[in-house]
Each structure stands twice: as C-alpha cells, then as structure tokens.
Symmetry: C2
Subunit: 305 residues, 2 copies
Amino acid sequence: MAAVLGGDRVAVARAISLVENELPDGETLLHDLFPHTGRAYRIGITGPPGAGKSTLTNKLALHYRREGRTVGVLAVDPTSPFTGGAVLGDRVRMHDVELDAGVFIRSMASRGSLGGLSKTTAEAADVLDAAGMDLILMETVGVGQSELDIARAADTTIVVLVPESGDAVQAMKAGLMEIADVFVMNKSDRSGADQAMQALITILGLRQRTAPAPPVLATVAPEGKGVDDVADAVRVHRESLQAHGGLLQKRRERLENRITELVVGRVRKQLWTPERRALLQRGADEIIRGTRTPYDVAHELVETF
Amino acid sequence: MAAVLGGDRVAVARAISLVENELPDGETLLHDLFPHTGRAYRIGITGPPGAGKSTLTNKLALHYRREGRTVGVLAVDPTSPFTGGAVLGDRVRMHDVELDAGVFIRSMASRGSLGGLSKTTAEAADVLDAAGMDLILMETVGVGQSELDIARAADTTIVVLVPESGDAVQAMKAGLMEIADVFVMNKSDRSGADQAMQALITILGLRQRTAPAPPVLATVAPEGKGVDDVADAVRVHRESLQAHGGLLQKRRERLENRITELVVGRVRKQLWTPERRALLQRGADEIIRGTRTPYDVAHELVETF
C-alpha cells in the first residue's frame, strides 16, 4: 500500500489489476487506500464511437502536464475488441505523454466484470487518486448504461460529439444531455459543424431553464485546437461546483451509490447458501413441470431473508 | 391476457411496453403468461456494429415466413441513438415483412432499464412466446456485457462478422467465440472474406476439442445469399440440442439465472428500509469525515439482513 501511496508505477498497475480482476485482496486494498482518496478531480469523457475521444483525452492530458499537474487516464472501451486497429491507433497517438512519469495511462478491459464496469472504473480511479494524481480522465464510449454510469461518476463530464454523429435530438435520446457539463463538438473543421453546434445550443436553451445551459465548444483535437477552451470550461464548472457546495453533494451521492452497489454485490455473493440453492433447484423443477413460475420461486427465496 | 395469448397485435405491443417500462402490472402479466411460454424457439443474432445483422434478421424472418411459421423480432441496439440514420435505414428494409400478420417486430430501447437490457429482452421474448410466435429472433449489437447476455439467452446464437470487422482473435477477445453456435461471415463478396473465414475456421478448430466446432457460413444478406444455409445450420443445432437433452439443460440454466436476477432485483428494491437508509446516511457522513470507508459501511448494512 505504501508503494501505491508513493505513486510507484508498478505498484499502481498491480493494484488496478487486483481491482479489475475483482480479487479478494483488491477490496482490502481499496478499504485501506480509501482514506487517502478525495483529492483528485475526476473528469469523464464520453460520446459516440469515432468522435475522437482518445485524441481529446490525450491533448487534455498534455495540457494538464504543461501546467505541472499529474494525470491518470482510464480508457474504458467495451467495443474495442472489434475496433482494435482504431484503438491501437489512438493509443499510439497517446505515445507522446506515455513516457512522462507524471501520467499514468490504463485501458480497462473488464467486459466480463461481475460488479460492472462502472464499479471497477470508479475503484481504479480511487487507486490513481490515492497514488497522488491531480486529475483523473475517465474516457468511455457512450453506448450503454454502464458506460454512462462511468461518465456520471465524474466530477465534470465532457460529452464529445462530431458533426456527423447525429443531431442534438439523438444525443438527447442517448441520455447524454442529462450527464453533460461540457459539450465538445470535435472535428469542428468539417462541414455541418456550425449547424450541428447551433442545433445543440438551441435544444439546450429550450431544455435548461433553472440552471445555465452547459457550454458547447468547438475543437479539432489532433491539432490541439480548442483544447485550452475545454480545460477552461472544466475549471469554470469545477469552481461553480465548489462555490455552491455541489461538489460535496455530487460526491456524497456517488458514495451512496457505491455503498448500494457493494451491498447488492455482497448479497448476490452470499445469496446461494445450500438451503437457498436447494429451494432454487426444487423451484426450477417445478417450473419445468409447469406448476410454478420464476416469479413465485423468486418470491419464496426473497422471503428467506 | 387472453388477447396476448390470442396473438392480438395491439395487446402484445402493450404487454411489451409494460415489461419494458418495468411497471408493476408487467410482472403480474409475466407471471400469468409464463405457463404459456416454452414453445417458441429463440435465436440470438449478434456481432459488431455494421455487420449487417438487421438485414440478415430480416431475411431470416422472410425465410421462416415462407415456411409458414410465425416470427417475432426483438431488435436491441443501445448504440442506435447515435446511428439513427443507419438503424432507420435497416428498419426501412424490414418493410417487406412488417405488414405481414405473421411477423411481430419490436425495437427495444430500454437503455435506462434498472433490471438490465437482458432481463427486459428475455421477458419481451416471453410475451411473444406466449402470443404464439414459432420463432423469436433477438438481434443485438455485441458491444457490452448485457448485449452478450441477450445473445446467451437464446437457444441458438448466431454471431455475424464481416471481413473488415477484425480477425478471429478479436472476436475471441470480445467473448463471441464462447457464445456462437453458428458463425456467419456476412458481406462475403468483399475482398478478404475467404481469408477471414479460413482464419476463423482455423482458430475454432484449435479451440474446440471436445465438441465439434460451430459451422462458419458465408452470406450476402441484402441479396439473400446463404440465408437458407443459416436457417439450415440453426435447424441442425436445434436438432442436436434436442437429441442430447441440451435444450432442456440450456433452458434450465436460463431459468436459474432468471430467478437469481429476480431475487437480486427484489432485494435491491427492498433494501432501503427507513432503518437502513438511516445507517447509510450516518455511514456517508462518517466516510466524508474520514472515519470510515464504504467497505465498512457496506459490511454493516449486509449484517442487517
């Protein structure tokens, strides 16, 4: 644990592997590290496949490094097995920051994870937090509920769109409107970018009445264009959260979700005592014979608690 | 319920909406319908985005209709909000079977679902099963754990790849090797298709030692090429399952998973009694003050069961 707290890269990598593989030692370690967390600022970066999230993440990491801050990057992409080429390409572009000791980059590949990707990612972020990273960038493709949960587990969430990734209505349907603190229209040098930005701003203006609408920023990530603006918008959002007690409230909500997930996970693990397993087996037999339904049997099992 | 059993389209659509929105009436209905399920054969169709799953599903539905069998189609695509154009395009091509009374097509759009997409899809399949559909095609993009779970909930699982969707090693990483009963190399008129098929067959031959390797079939779905072969491979797999008691075993395993999910879902719902909520609140306060960790608090909560 001391090695993780000291920021030892090998120890940090090992700790994240423990967490990722959901080994029993992992939970003990997380428990011990927890008092040392809470200092890092967590930034979620999400959006559709091909929006250029990895490049933007890379450029943001570089930006923060130039300010002298340490950066942890967690790249979660459950679709990557299909697009290995693209992901590898993106990671190659990560190269320029990779050898810098102030950056720790990790791909999360826990699609088979029992506890869910969002739990594992939040725990890996805890490890990086305890290891002294100032900022943690959590990059995930926004295709499923668990990926949205990862983004939601950040202090500030950046949603990256491209002119072609469909209009604002589609981002709305995907639940991205609700989680975005900052919108980025990447590849903004492409045709249709202005219209796409305008449409987004219009819809945001219609929807958000109580709070100010999140900013919509234009970037061309490979050239680094607009990246300073994104970092600036993150800073403004962070300051506004801190000024209004929003950061503490956000972290408290996350804490409650975290505890709920831990409790449900433990219940799930402890569920199948020999007695309940026998009930389940008998229930399954009866369902197959047509005398009961899964709903009956589940009810009976819940009653044993 | 009688209307659903009679195959009334409006009643079936309404029942699926109840299930999809996780309304309390939905569970009562599912309980009542359950004794009438088990007759339909469930086929999962999965693969990377852009593999042509929708077109293949459409052509398979047509194939089965020509045999005089009724077909339910559940299209689950959590990525669709980003690719509305493509999905709409695919659905337009569904047009030719859509107006046929022997086909029921439904898109599942429950990315916010509490119980998970796989639970909701299995339950929607139950509704179609009770409504008298002979075959249920469950189409989902294989990008996340819950989408793989949907495919796994089928009697026969078809994995659709295209020459460009990466090599067999990548399909292996994505967990598709484990779930495939039939492999389809779609768009097999493209260059590289033969090599991609050969690579897949080689790897399958290396991996599967006890059971025969799943067949690898070539299709060009928009032209209907190879679709009869796919239907044939499904039939062969079905007969082999039935001959060896595998179908019953598969369904029994699914039943046990289903019950587990129901129990965990109910525990989750009943978790927050006023007493436990008070424990949680106090625990969160103490964690924020730095005197406890989420792991302590979760442990204390589990002890109250």
